[in-house]
Subunit: 459 residues, 2 copies
């Protein structure tokens, strides 16, 4: 009997975490592991690219958690620059080819167990000028290097960032740090559409205060290139925004073309659907995780698409445990995300107002202002906390925080409370860490909980 | 029918929060409120005193959340420098006297409802030399001012801090900031006995690294004064430690002499015993809160004494709501506390190893090293997390964290998880905020949870 073979498609966080965890549980004598990766790198932190571009991180090597050589040393047959072009579910095999050699190099590899970790692809709007030089996405290390090459050659200092989500605001910071004049073109009414607009407005104002030109409610329709083929302007709403470099931060979609062609089940967001063990629904021997899957939102009870490295790593661990003969599950997310723009910290977890409405929930919303430390302690800085609680039950539904030092990770309090299904009334009694350098005597999250609880009670 | 009268004994956080909250619910036409305070101040942050002494906070006024005048303006009959000397429970009245005029000024005041918020008194060991000038506690604003007066007059620059708990380490920082050579004399084996000794050792090493002389396992037996009556040395284990100033940070005990004399129920730690509404057990019309009560430890199920401003404020709110005709409870604590010494952050919540043993629990303990931010992000600093989980059930029992920036408030994650009764296995899936400036992709608390969960599973 031949050894069982695990095939992994995708060599970043989810795929290689799964491979590593499976290897930890089943040695090279028990399980063969073949991993295909289309690019040059494995197990890297795409979330770190803005900080590399901004100069806070020296080089791409620092973003690599584990190199191909390290994976190979642990008995993983890693094939770089090798693209899987087909999954034959019935035949339990995948077809792969060398990216550089092309179709002629294609070959089949059979599997007993398969992990689909194909990640996400950036949204690239179909409009004139997208091919101009100096127009960059920032999803892969190659993207980051290409952008840095453009920056080193750019004659001018004008940057336009298209999109005002996490990538957009982080890239705005990076380019400010590089000494650029930055304009952010945002399709929505406020930046950070993962926040409610009233909280997004705080981000808008803070970014404006940093000298970033924020333009909301505009759709980019064209990129203009000069005669040298380099981008020179971005056109939105009949206005030309001059640009020596353009960064696209419009978001990503699940990379599931392979899965779709193979007939694997996809959800409403285009991501693969799995069970709680991260097994693709209806497919006993196929797992999927990372940016190509949808996840259960524990607050709304609905599927969401949340491409984040932290989830991808957890998925990989869960898949690896199950493939390796252990047992683990990924119960879902509450939708926590944190970010920063210079010293502005931005955090959210749970549902926004529109998410709550979409889920059929009635809610009360409160917003409070407090400080990061005791008011009298040096460095105490303002913090705004918005909290949503369900009517009648008082169950916490979501929290958004915008502030300076200490704002972002405070959202973890709410993330745990959401996971536990706490009410805002219960939260008012939480025994949170207090000392003047770290919090007012009533932590801002408690202040919000008190106000929300009072509002729920009085209705 | 005369108006109902609420009498409050003690004008700091618990007492005045109770008075204010009751007033919010019942106006001056409905409820008379008389509050007695022995000292000069109301509603101040004793926790801020070390930072005032250290120079981070300009003056005592900044530590006062609400002045006597502000309380009076809200219709509270506040009597400063007035000491309650007797509670006549059967007669529903208290006897008070003017502190400066003495016994001759005593009078009775009847109550319909009584709040006992007499706070804590610092432990002052009974040994020779305690009356020397230059020996200071730091519990009240008056204490803080007296210490500052000593510092301004001190000829030398040698300070000895007796005690290595929160007050001791914070005062060590304050005195270092004032340019003193600081020696900390500690009766225990390691500083911060609210941590397990292995974590206390990290504090010891960091404080030594800051140039503080840390002496463990010594009992102070005598203070030596010069001919001018000023302290000149501290004697411990037959060694003389020269001192131009001595700060006592040995801890506090519930100030319950009045309550004891009145026959109110006290617990094993000497604090008043209340029900969940903060009503003194067996006394329908008497409430108690703040540093004079014992609280339920939600993890061990036993009573504990945890004198902290954050609890006192919550107690006050709860009492005020109940006295004012509303309803609120204080369910208990999980034992969260945070502190810092210069840039070292120290946090704990839940049970230490010895607490777990004392509560009859068997547990697994893990300790992990991680970083505050993604390893590649500038400013990432080491963080040590210790986690205890119950055997078999895997229930989280406690977390201790020692590190730099971002270490202290991370303990809130565990505080909420403890409150919710989560297992460490459940914690491994927590959706915590992740971005490179704020956390590694696996938050240090998750790394600890994974290790703890693996240990529980494998037994």
């Amino acid at each position: 009997m031949s050894m069982e073979r695990l095939v992994v498609i995708g060599g970043d966080a989810a795929g290689m975490s799964a491979a590593s965890q499976a290897r930890r549980l089943r040695g090279p004598g028990e399980l063969e592991i073949v991993a295909f990766e289309r690019g040059h790198f494995t197990s890297y932190s795409a979330c770190g690219i803005p900080y590399w571009v901004g100069g806070d991180v020296a080089g791409p090597d620092e973003l690599i958690a584990r190199t191909p050589e390290e994976h190979r040393a642990r008995g993983i047959d890693l094939r770089l620059r090798t693209e899987v072009t087909e999954i034959d579910v019935a035949g339990r095999r995948v077809r792969a080819r060398d990216v550089d050699s092309g179709a002629g190099s294609a070959y089949w590899t059979s599997y007993d167990k398969l992990v689909v970790a194909t990640g996400a692809r950036p949204v690239r709007p179909d409009m004139p000028g997208m091919d101009a030089r100096g127009v960059h996405g920032v999803q892969t290390l190659d993207d980051g290097q290409a952008l840095l090459d453009t920056l080193s050659r750019a004659r001018g200092r004008r940057a336009v960032v298209v999109g005002a989500g996490y990538i957009g605001v982080e890239m705005a910071e990076a380019l400010i740090n590089r000494g650029y004049e930055v304009t952010v073109l945002n399709r929505g009414g406020e930046p950070m559409s993962t926040l409610d607009p009233d909280m997004g407005r705080l981000v808008h104002d803070a970014m404006t205060g940093l000298g970033i030109t924020m333009v909301n409610d505009v759709e980019v329709t064209e990129l203009l290139a000069g005669e040298d083929g380099r981008v020179r302007a971005v056109v939105a709403k009949d206005t030309e925004y001059p640009a020596d470099v353009v960064v696209l931060g419009i978001g990503v979609r699940p990379e599931t073309a392979l899965a779709r062609a193979a007939g694997l089940p996809l959800g409403g967001h285009g991501g693969l659907l799995t069970d709680l063990a991260m097994r693709v629904r209806g497919h006993e021997e196929i797992w999927a995780g990372g940016d190509c899957v949808e996840v259960l939102d524990l607050v709304s009870g609905q599927e969401r698409y949340v491409p984040l490295g932290t989830h991808a790593n957890k998925h990989g661990q869960v898949i690896g445990a199950n493939v390796g003969g252990g047992y683990a599950t990924f119960p879902g997310v509450v939708g926590t995300a944190v970010s920063k723009v210079c010293d502005l910290e931005i955090a959210r977890t749970g549902l926004r107002e529109k998410d709550a409405r979409r889920a059929g929930l009635r809610y009360e919303s409160v917003t409070i202002e407090s400080t990061s430390r005791a008011g009298y302690y040096p460095g105490a800085s303002p913090m705004t906390v918005k909290m949503l609680a369900e009517r009648r039950t008082g169950r916490l539904l979501g929290v958004q925080i915008v502030g300076r030092e200490g704002a972002a990770k405070r959202v973890d309090i709410a993330a745990v409370a959401l996971t536990a299904g706490m009410t805002v009334e219960q939260m008012t009694a939480l025994d949170l860490g207090y000392a003047p350098p770290f919090s007012p005597v009533w932590d801002p999250v408690l202040v919000a909980a008190r106000k929300a609880a009072a509002k729920v009670r009085n209705l």
